[in-house]
Amino acid sequence: MSTAFAFGPFDVARIREDFPILKQTINGRPLVYLDNAATSQKPQAVLDALVNYYTTENSNVHRGVHTLSQRATDSYEAARSKARQFINAAKDEEVIFVRGATEGINLVAQTYGRQNIGPGDEIIISAMEHHSNIVPWQILSQEKGARLKIVPVNDDGELLLDEYEKLLNPRTKLVSIVHQSNALGTINPVEQIVELAHRQGVPVLLDGAQAVAHVPVDVTRLGCDFYVFSGHKLYGPTGVGVLYGKAGLLEEMPPYQGGGEMIRSVTFEQTLYNTIPNKFEAGTQNIAGSIGLGAAIDYVAGLGLDNIAAYEKELLDYGTKRLAEIGPLRLIGAARRKGSILSFVMDEVHPHDVGTILDVEGIAVRTGHHCAQPLMERFGVPATVRASLAFYNTKEEIDTLVKGIDRVIEVFGR
């Protein structure tokens, strides 16, 4: 059987052994987990890192002179270094631990945004943004009297770069664009997006919540000013993520939250703020989660993102081919550069009904608007079914998905 799973250096049968949750049955069927864009499963190495931290190192960081505190601090800062290497940032202090991509975007909106964006200014986002890259900018725009400008997408789900270029103007103060769409899988040409903005001196934030788990990310090569991602979509724990920012920008930005850790000295008259990254890490952080994220990064780096991307491309191509053979099914999103996401609708059957029937077959997919309602509107659908694939998925599981869809057709065709 193992040959059926293996693609080049990728031994999926062995990799699946690293993920204990995949061994269970759901509704009497082996779990087929195809909801990786919502959250990914965790390898044993991440679970072990969490248990090990709480078993042998638990202590507060940057506080005590005692041994445990030093161990916890070392592990926490080692995780920061791993994250720095993973996205190839220049310095550790450019990596801020946050709760996730959402908090990273909110942090930038509430600090950089409030400091630099004023009445009549414009912020460019795109029509394929997750709500987390829309709402923080709406809140800021309403407060400051600024305006949101939207880069449109074509019928394949690709950004219209010409339109983007036209939107850039002297009033543009920030561009915030998703690297890989959570609803369609489109991988955006972020190199060009950054370059075009920088020609006009406009900084760029990239939302990497989906991308980091599927494509190699190099913020130095991209030149982006901010990059955010969540740990839990990268096979790490929930409640932790990273905001990368260029040191020069982070240093100029006001603090996000006040509290312990982010200060240098406090009197009742005034407070001197700490240097980066601590300036943005008020209060006790998700220490265990950060260490778990470090373990997840080690795991992913061990497999190699190039290998992961190549394997997932095979899976995506196979899935696309199999689903395209199903008459009453329409795939949404056909970008030339695309991550392993199969978003689709079915004639006469609502996505929720598809999702329930697949669940009975043990198959976990996401159904709904994927927190991207403006995008759903663009494609004229209220919702889609989304099967999002990870490196531990197999062609056999895609076959199971196809059988599950046959069951949908059978139930609704009675």
């Binding site: 996505p351 929720h352 009975v360 159904t367 209220p382 139930v411």
Partner: protein, 154 residues
């Protein structure tokens, strides 16, 4: 184990395919919009209330088979009923779909019985109930029909 055939009974699928009273009555005097922000289901319930009787009831909207069939069956079951009787039907229906394994009692719900399978699918109960919350909002919306009110499942 959750049984698909219990959930998607033929009568439910039939209502989904050919919903009853799927229209906008010209002479409706009360209406409300229902919305489930989690899945995007939308339903509008139109009522023509004469005295305390629902003389006409109809709906429009987009949603899954459960919500659509529930709305269709709703229009059948409350048409011609008094407002208070409509409330009683909702109470019986609500109990039937939220209490798994509850035996059918004397209250015959007609086609609505076909929705009892939903009780085994907790994530889908809101789909079945959305049109009913919307009906309640429409009943209470005694303003002109033009000023629709909105309810959500949250």
């Amino acid at each position: 184990m959750a049984n698909l055939n219990e959930l998607y009974q033929e009568i439910l699928l039939e209502h989904n395919n050919r919903p009853r009273n799927f229209r906008k009555p010209e002479d409706a005097n009360r209406q409300a919009d229902g919305y489930n922000p989690l899945c995007g289901d939308r339903v509008t319930i139109y009522l023509k209330v004469e005295g305390d009787v629902i003389a006409d009831v109809a709906f429009q909207g987009v949603g899954c088979a459960i919500s659509r069939a529930s709305a269709s069956m709703l229009t059948q079951s409350v048409k011609g009923q008094t407002l208070s009787k409509a409330g009683e039907i909702f109470d019986v229906f609500h109990a039937r779909i939220t209490e798994p394994g509850g035996e059918a009692d004397d209250d015959d719900l007609g086609d609505l019985e076909a929705l009892s399978g939903v009780s085994a699918f907790p994530t889908r109960i809101k789909c079945a109930i959305l049109p009913w919350h919307t009906l309640n909002a429409a009943i209470e919306n005694t303003e002109a029909a033009a000023s629709s009110v909105s309810v959500t499942t949250e």
